[in-house]
């Protein structure tokens, strides 16, 4: 990145003997929406807490807007934080909550009133200004928290699993709302989540965390289509991991033998050695059933399960010892369990992942 707004340089954080973040380097551009995605305990929240100033890095440096901020106390960092459980002040009304950051900055009363009104209108809560947080629904509380974190026009907004406590429908609505605010206000957002679909829908870039380190960072489509490791492939979306051994490499194509003896061709994006073993990730929706007209790899397999999902069918097919999940649309003729089918997929859909 040519001109990153936030830069984490070799940041480590340990609690006693437990190292939560190890030698992390991360650059975040201005106006970027970046998601930190990973299982719990992967260090993503700790990074957010270090950005916000609630935790100090054990070593390394954090820069924001050209200034080193890792020794700055939280109240002087000018970062808006949206907490998991909203952290609204229960003894204040909605408008008092939203006015709090401006009051702390000593803004004059008239300006505070005006900006609070605008901020509440932005999240469509103007009519509830005099309520207390306990009188609001979860989604409304979340929007108050959002308005409160945005009203002082922070340089960065940090969000710690802000949608975790909402039900599915509300969560999807809020995802769109937050994305919309991000675009309109040109905010820089660091979004921590363990929900991969949330990260895919909202982010400009996703950083996948595993055991305190970034496993892969990139655009959502890059990460989904080209996962670099087995962990990423399994964490983002659903996938079939197939092991095999490289038989030969010709040009950009390699021939791989599966444990059962069947052979598939793959495109070699990474350097492969003949006779080396390899792990392939094949997304379920890339595999076609039947498909005599499709060029590419063909495998015979027996259907062992058919699961109805409304808009699609999920098939489990067994080829030798390998189980393959296949996602098909419902234009397929009905398949019965035990039926032998031909599965086909393109060499470019076989993506080599590191174990």
């Amino acid at each position: 990145m040519s001109n990153p707004f936030i830069r984490l340089e070799d940041v480590s954080k340990s609690f006693g003997l437990l190292t939560v973040v190890e030698g992390l380097n991360l650059e975040i551009g201005k106006g970027e929406f970046i998601s930190l995605l990973g299982p719990s305990g992967s260090g993503k929240t700790t990074i957010l807490m270090m950005l916000a100033g609630f935790e100090n890095p054990t070593s390394g440096a954090i820069w924001a807007g050209g200034k080193r901020i890792d020794s700055l106390p939280p109240h002087r960092r000018n970062m808006g934080v949206v907490f998991q459980n909203y952290a609204l002040f229960p003894h204040m009304t909605v408008s008092e909550n939203v006015a709090f950051p401006l009051k702390m900055r000593g803004r004059p009363g008239a300006e505070v009133t005006e900006r609070v009104g605008k901020a509440l209108d932005m999240v469509q809560l103007g009519s509830l200004a005099e309520r207390r947080p306990s009188q609001l629904s979860g989604g409304q509380q979340q929007r108050v928290a959002l308005a409160r974190a945005l009203i002082f026009e922070p340089e960065v907004v940090l969000m710690d699993e802000p949608l975790g406590a909402l039900d599915k429908q509300l969560r999807e609505q809020m995802q769109l709302d937050i994305r919309d605010l991000h675009r309109r206000l040109e905010l820089t957002i660091v979004f921590v989540t363990h929900d991969q679909s949330e990260a895919l829908t909202m982010s400009d870039r996703i950083a996948i965390f595993n055991r305190g380190q970034i496993e892969q960072i990139g655009k959502p489509s890059d990460i989904y289509d080209h996962p670099s490791t087995q962990f990423v492939a399994e964490f983002i979306g659903e996938t079939n991991l197939v092991r095999g051994s490289v038989q030969s490499i010709e040009g950009g194509t390699a021939r791989v033998q599966l444990p059962g003896g069947q052979e598939v061709f793959i495109e070699t994006a990474t350097d492969l050695r003949p006779n080396g073993s390899v792990c392939l990730s094949i997304r379920p929706e890339r595999i076609k059933v039947g498909g005599r007209e499709v060029a590419g790899n063909k495998i015979t397999a027996a259907i062992s399960d058919v699961v109805y999902h409304g808009d699609h069918l999920r098939l489990v097919a067994r080829s030798d010892s390998q189980a393959l999940v296949v996602k098909t649309d419902r234009s397929q003729p009905t398949l019965s369990i035990g039926e032998e089918v031909q599965l086909s997929f393109l060499p470019s859909d076989c993506w080599v992942v590191r174990p």
Partner: protein, 393 residues
């Protein structure tokens, strides 16, 4: 009403009956008795029934009539019970001193002859209307407000108007005021120590929290008398505290800590501190952990975050803790009695003096009633204030 519901009601009534009976016999009944004794004054009316009738038409200013004197002598001859006579003398003497000698002299004279006695010839004091006023007031009603008035340093003068007692006659108002000032001081000191302590206890966890709470609870499990006795030993001129101070060279001579106000405040604060710490602590641990970080992220300096967020939320605990401490402190008796000097005695010791020393149950009841009323008024104010800014988290 259908039968099962009625039987349920009977069962619940049976279940609460022990508590109810206990409260009636050991709380309500003694309370009512004490309140009654504060205002009841039956002795003179019982001992002097004919006099009561005779003085009812008297204007309480002119010299006593012959009818009154005759009735009084007749009543005196009727009193066979020495106990009743003693009570009557004590009652009259408390209204006007001098009755003690006057009454025994008159009774002796009345018992020696059956005929008419010239009271004024017997003692010139019988010509003084003020003695007859005392008799008249005492005999005309079985209820009196003199105890209640005396409890707040007031009295009725000859014309039944309420006036202040002479400055040297009583010090109840001073002692009552002192009681409130001392209770308030203890409450403030408890807040100043208890709030930070509760905040620390709420912010740590595991064995540290157990240790801190244990330090608060331990005194609660020890008897009040034992704790006071311990302070009695610690605070002495050659006690632990003073000997340490002198050994460290902080002071050359012992700091006077016992038999004065400082000692009483120290001991009472120590004894009452748990009642401050525990309510604050229980409110504090109910406050979500992320509110202070949220305030900081929104630009609040730690001090302002404390003032705007934590303190308002903890206030409920502080207020209920203060109420507990203040109310308990008002009734303290043993600690000031053992550790305080003569000028540190609280209203309870005055009540104890009247109840056990002077056997004046009327005054004891009246002072108790005044203390109860003052406490109830304060409690009502607290309820009013706390309902106005009620916080629903």
């Amino acid at each position: 009403m259908n039968p099962p519901r009625r039987s349920k009601q009977v069962i619940s009534l049976v279940l609460v009956a022990p508590l109810l009976l206990f409260l009636v016999f050991f709380f309500a009944f003694p309370l009512v008795t004490m309140m009654r004794s504060a205002v009841s004054d039956p002795v003179a009316a019982r001992a002097l029934p004919t006099t009561a009738r005779a003085v009812s038409s008297w204007d309480r200013v002119s010299p006593p009539t012959d009818e009154m004197k005759a009735a009084f002598v007749a009543d005196l001859r009727q009193i066979g019970d020495d106990q009743l006579f003693g009570d009557l003398v004590r009652r009259l003497n408390s209204a006007k001193s001098g009755f003690r000698t006057l009454m025994s002299k008159t009774r002796t004279a009345a018992s020696e002859t059956d005929g008419n006695i010239d009271l004024i010839a017997l003692d010139k004091r019988w010509a003084d209307p003020s003695y007859w006023q005392a008799v008249s007031v005492a005999a005309s009603s079985t209820f009196t407000d003199r105890n209640l008035l005396a409890a707040v340093d007031l009295q009725r003068d000859a014309s039944s108007a309420i006036t202040a007692l002479p400055a040297d006659a009583s010090a109840n108002k001073v002692i009552m005021l002192r009681t409130f000032v001392m209770a308030l001081t203890v409450t403030v000191v408890c807040v100043l120590i208890g709030l930070p302590f509760a905040m620390i206890a709420a912010s740590v966890d595991g064995w540290k929290r157990q240790l801190l709470l244990g330090a608060v609870l331990l005194p609660l499990w020890t008897s009040l008398l034992v704790r006071t006795a311990a302070w009695f030993i610690l605070l002495q001129d050659r006690g632990l505290i003073n000997s340490v101070l002198m050994q460290l060279g902080v002071t050359s001579g012992p700091v006077p800590l016992i038999f004065n106000r400082i000692g009483v405040i120290i001991a009472m604060t120590h004894i009452l501190l748990p009642f401050m710490v525990l309510p604050i602590f229980s409110v504090l641990i109910g406050i979500p952990k992320n509110l202070m970080p949220a305030a900081a992220s929104l630009g609040a300096h730690p001090v302002r975050a404390f003032l705007y967020v934590l303190l308002p939320l903890a206030l409920r605990g502080v207020v209920s803790g203060s109420l507990l401490v203040f109310m308990s402190a008002l009734g303290y008796y043993i600690t000031p009695a053992l550790i305080g000097g003569a000028r540190d005695q609280m209203i309870s010791s005055v009540i104890a003096y009247y109840a056990t020393g002077a056997a004046n149950w009327g005054m004891a009841g009246a002072l108790g009633l005044v203390l109860l009323a003052a406490t109830m008024i304060l409690y009502a104010i607290y309820l009013r204030l706390s309902s106005e800014r009620e916080v629903r988290p």
